[in-house]
């Protein structure tokens, strides 16, 4: 009797005779499809306009086929060469052939600038030799060395061998202040040329300080906002939001006016006798300037999540704690504070990730020791035109952020984050 009832249950049918389970999953599938349909435009926009171009650009950091593409004859010959023995006549001949062709097709500049990144001074070596390449006669080794002595150097050929590989770690190595040699080993660059590692560390340091400073400044503000009568707190909230709505550029420029040598703050210091007129504080165009303006600009991102979490905490908890004899401090620290941690987590990670890729503010107020890694990515994008290196640096930065995000997830737990 009981068994047959179970059987009946399993085959519960809807009015049109289809098993309920099947019908339910069908309905769910349809609603999922509808949901997916609704987000499709956004998904397409993000993948075509954001994810795909970024991935394509990042490949430039490990792939650069300029040399292979244009030095058609030399590349296969270089691949056979061991990188130690004296370059052969065959190699020189291939080189001259390529130079003549590059000159004719007006592509010599591309190879020359690619080579110049590997070996300083090889731009003119390539362009001037290409100009004369057509008139050169065999034996090419002798005649080419006569044009430019540098062709006789083993180093020139080793640099060409490194450059001839399209899939290459040279840019990643360079992004980490290292040099990739023809033997396939990495060596550290000389001290006066090391800069990127230092900048990565400084970027992390600045971001971390901004998070901590934002927390110290933002937490009491959020607490005040959450606990004042609604009429006053709304007014105060506008004071928090007003700068949030103002352009980043305007706020940065305002800080320049405030902090510069002849600025408002320094004038006040002089009036109050804290500084003398000749010896004013340097508050901007350095790390201090970057820290102050970034903390201010990112403060709303810290206050708002904490505030919205605090709003949801019932005041009765703290009252209950106090009624059981807790001091103000214990009630806050043991009861109130733990409940705000999701807000702190959300604010901290939001501010940290925004700060790590900050760019305009450090560019304007950073001076020499307040610039960050993003400013150098920008430098290689716009000034030195070394897009491969920029892509490699961007890739390293992305990996660092993902790694920190993973650590955050392990330690704090991303589910613990709450934006409201």
């Amino acid at each position: 009797m009981q068994a047959s009832q179970n059987k009946n249950n399993e085959q519960m049918l809807t009015s049109d005779g289809i098993p309920l389970k099947k019908k339910l999953s069908k309905a769910l599938f349809r609603s999922r499809l509808r949901a997916f349909g609704l987000v499709t435009p956004l998904l397409l926009l993000i993948s075509i306009g954001f994810v795909f171009p970024i991935l394509v650009f990042l490949t430039r950091g490990i792939y650069n086929d300029t040399f292979e593409k244009y030095m058609v004859n030399l590349t296969p010959v270089l691949a056979e060469w061991n990188g130690i023995s004296e370059p052969t006549e065959e190699m020189f001949e291939a080189l001259v052939l390529d130079l003549v062709w590059l000159k004719e097709t007006k592509n010599i500049g591309k190879v020359a600038s690619r080579m110049n990144r590997e070996m300083s001074g090889s731009r003119s070596l390539f362009t001037s030799s290409a100009r004369k390449a057509k008139k050169l006669e065999a034996p090419y080794k002798e005649s080419l060395i006569k044009v430019k002595k540098k062709w006789g150097d083993l180093e020139t050929w080793r640099a060409m061998k490194v450059t001839s590989h399209s899939l290459t770690p040279v840019f990643l190595a360079s992004a980490l202040d290292m040099k990739y040699t023809a033997e396939g080993s990495f060596i550290q660059k000389s001290e006066d040329r090391r800069i990127h590692v230092k900048l990565f560390i400084r970027t992390l340091e600045i971001s971390l300080i901004v998070v901590i400073a934002g927390l110290i400044l933002g937490y009491p503000v959020a607490f005040l906002l959450a606990n004042l009568p609604i009429r006053i707190s709304n007014l105060l909230l506008i004071l928090v939001l007003l700068p949030f709505w103002t352009s980043l550029l305007v706020r940065t420029t305002a800080w320049i006016a405030m902090l510069q040598g002849q600025g408002v703050l320094n004038d006040l210091f002089v009036v109050f006798g804290i500084a003398t007129d000749e010896d004013r504080f340097t508050l901007i165009y350095n790390k201090a300037g970057t820290l102050i303006s970034m903390t201010h600009i990112l403060l709303p991102f810290m206050i708002l999540p904490i505030y919205s979490v605090m709003k949801t905490i019932p005041p009765s908890y703290v009252r209950a704690a106090k009624s059981m004899g807790a001091t103000n401090w214990t009630a806050f620290w043991r009861i109130y504070f733990p409940q705000t941690i999701p807000g702190i987590g959300a604010g901290a990670i939001l501010v940290f990730i925004l700060a790590i890729s900050f760019y305009i503010t450090p560019a304007l107020v950073g001076g020499q020791d307040g610039t960050m890694i993003s400013n150098f990515i920008d430098y290689h994008m716009r000034k030195s035109l070394n897009w491969s290196l920029a892509a490699a640096m961007g890739g390293v930065l992305l990996v660092i952020i993902l790694f920190l995000y993973w650590i955050y997830d392990r330690v704090v737990g991303i589910d613990n984050m709450k934006l409201g």
Binding site: R60, K110, A363, R382
Partner: protein, 359 residues
Amino acid sequence: MKLFKLTFATVSALFVAFGANAESITVVSWGGAYTKSQVEAYHKPWSQKTGNQVVSEDYSGGLAEVKAQVESGNVTWDVVDVELSDALQGCDEGILEEIDHSTLPAAPDGSPATQDFLPGALQDCAVGNIVWSTLYAYDKTKFDTPPTTMADFFDIEKFPGKRGMRKLGKAMLEMALMGDGVPAAEVYDLLGTEEGVQRAFAKLDTIKDHVVWWEAGAQPPQLLADGEVSMTITWNGRIFNAIAQEKQPFGLVWDGQIYDLDLFVIPKGSKNKEAALDFIRFSTDTKRLADQASWIPYGPLRNSSIPLIGTFHSDPSIKMIDHMPTTEVALKNALQNDFEFWADNGEELNERFNAWLAN
């Protein structure tokens, strides 16, 4: 590469609104008083003559934008005002259109353009516009005895106050050497050696704590006017305008100046190539080059323009010829920027300069 082009083109098509239409060309220059001189002397008369519109855009130098536009196949700039080194590099890399010099207008006396232009002013892909100078200016109110040499710029004891410098190795390293007593003629030979580079950085070290670094050309006159610095490296036209037009108490020191050429180029694949060529032909004729000199003291690159140089547009008592980078006084200890040197060593020296800055 192809994939990259395709992506870029798709993205541009998605996000960029329609570019300039056929009746207007986009001319890109350095902004501020310099662009103003070009708008007055070139853009307005050309628009009047042809009925075409000129859209003026500012940039801060370099080939990055041109390269990005050409590589993505979405060229929105038609004429760009570039430095000599960029004109040559861009031509080598095939991102600039070649310009036929025989189509340029002849001088009034009939001599062809190729003879009328100064040496170096006509390149395969570029037509010369002006000669300009990087030098230093000072605030007259700050010093009883004015500075006169490059060495004074690096003398914090004798001439106290902050210094403004461009955040770039180019020109700063040369000036450091000249400030250390190296004659202009020997600067590039020395800078080609490790010892010379170290000497330049050692000289920069002596004022490093007193430097405010600038990046855009409009900044140095502002830094001086704000009292942020007492001396600053600057471009001669900008500072002249602050003196002549805004009556600022600034002085110029020509000792150790570095002069360079600016040229017009056309990015490869410009949609309005013919109009752009016409604009360049028009703007670099004898009269227009002389006209722009009455707005800013940058020297015209045609021999036939020099006798036509007039007075400052808002003050007829100022003879512009006296303020050019090419006067006898200005050229006494002057250096011409060596584009080949920077094309070869720029990568390495700028890297070292940046590392030096960050330390």
